[in-house]
Structures are given as structure tokens and as C-alpha cells.
Amino acid sequence: MLDAHLKKLRARDDISAAEEQAIRAGVREVIKVPADGLVVRANQPLEVCTILLSGIAARQKDMPDGKRQITEIHVPGDFTDLHSFTLKRLDHDVVALSACSFAVLPHKYLEQITETQPHLTRVYWFGTNMDAAIHREWVVSLGTRSALARMAHLFCELHIRLGIVDLTRGDSFDLPITQQELAEMIGITPVHANRTLQELRKNGWLEFAGALATIKDLEALKRAAEFDPAYLYLERGRR
């Protein structure tokens, strides 16, 4: 059940059997959320955190005019809202973009982990730092990259993040989200996102159709995105 989560952690550090057991013992329940279902509503008091087990989820900010900005996409294995452990409410929603399942861990249990598992605590601190690094890279995308480069960058990032949890098949991966949601990640409209995907397809770099992404020319896609994976901290080491 937590396989993807453990793969993600072990891609960056050693996780002992005792630490694995400590994580597994914290799961109080598994919840299923349908596509477009809200997992966390902004500014509501929170007492639990959720790990994404399957599906694609996102952090989003709703705007008064009904638009929304997706600020991070979540793939299986992500500790979707670990930051709520210290924040106790979130300034954003967490939403399931496709049908999702989540493991639920109480804040009280995580508090015990911080008291009994210092290394695991640092591993999770590292995890929230990495989320911040991803946010920074998305800010850079929104502020400096063209729509084409932003889209290319997003697919390069997903290729790596899904690869870490063994959810890629060569250069293909399932991505059960809409063009509208892609648009909301990179700050353009759905029609513009459709056009941008068409350009990537015409260039022979990327196909995205029927919830399946296939990277046709990874090097060209990376060049177009000016993609440097350093912000994903892929190196293993003691945290």
C-alpha cells in the first residue's frame, strides 16, 4: 500500500525496517476520493495528514472569479499535506484530479515519530523542503518561461517523479488529468494548453492524449524547457 511512498523516500536516503514499520503503523485508514473531490479545504482545522497511494492530486488556490491556480501536482507516494502537521490548516485546497486513494495519518502519531524517530523526522523535513523547491521551480516557470517551455518543463518533471515510483513505462506514463488542469498548472487557458500540446506534438517531442503521455524526444523536450533536475534532489544521502 505504501510501496510508492517508500520508493520515493528510498530514492533519496536509507529507510530502515524499523522506520518503515513506524510509517506503516501510523496509517489509520485509507480513503477513496473521486475525481474532482476535495481532500483538504483551505483554512479548515486539520488533525491528519494524507499520503497519496494512487491517482493524481494537486494543491490549488481558488480565485474569487472561479478560476484556480494549481500550485503543485502530486503523484503516488507523495506526502500530500505533511506541511499541515505544523501549519494545522492549509492556505490552499488539496484536490483529487483523478480518482485517488490516500493513507491517513493523524498529527498525534506524527508527533510521536518526531519524538522517537529523529532520522525519519529529518527525512520528512527534507520532503517538505523538496516540495518548496518544486514550488520555486514552478514560480520560475510562471515568471520566465514561455507557455511551450512551461508545458515541456512540467512533463519533464512528471517523467522523473513518476519514474522514481516506477509508474513510467520507458518514456510513457499515465496522466489521468485534463488539458484544463494542465492549463491551470502553467497559467494559460485550456484552448491555449491544447494549442501548446499540439505544438509539442508537431515538433515530435511529446504526445498527450487519452490520459497517456509519451515523450518522443526527451533531449529536445529538456532543451525546450531548459530543464535541470537539480531541484528534485535526486541524489541519495544521509539526511
Partner: protein, 81 residues
Amino acid sequence: MARYLLHLHNRTGHTRDDEGLDLPDVAAARDEAIRSIRSILSSEILEGQMDLDGRIDICGEDGETLAVVRFSEAVQLKAEA
């Protein structure tokens, strides 16, 4: 709510909308088309060009064209003579 397909045509090519958007009415679909044209043109301007020769066809799920929004309707150009 109804599903509207927004097909884009300009000098770069034709982009069929196979996904569509759920919107309350044709007026909302027109607003979305205007927003989309502005989004596309703003990208072009950052590249130093702006091509107003284009349109978005708004179609219902049965394929019937309900409205056409031309790129030129989405922006007002002002320049000193």
C-alpha cells in the same frame, strides 16, 4: 451546464478541441474564447509578434457551431498616428 468545444484556427494551424469545457451558456463560452485568444496573443507578443488573423469556433457537443469569436474582437489596438 453544457459542454462546449472551442476549436482554434489561426495561421499556425487548426487545433481541434476534443475535451471541451463545461460552461453555463454560450455567453460564458464566448468569454472563455476571448480569454483564450488574449492568452495566445500575449504569448505571441512576448515573442515580438501578434497575429490577429484567427478565430475560435464555439461548438456544441453535436458539432453545431454556436458562435465564432475572431481574434480581433478580443483586443483593442491603440496607437498614435
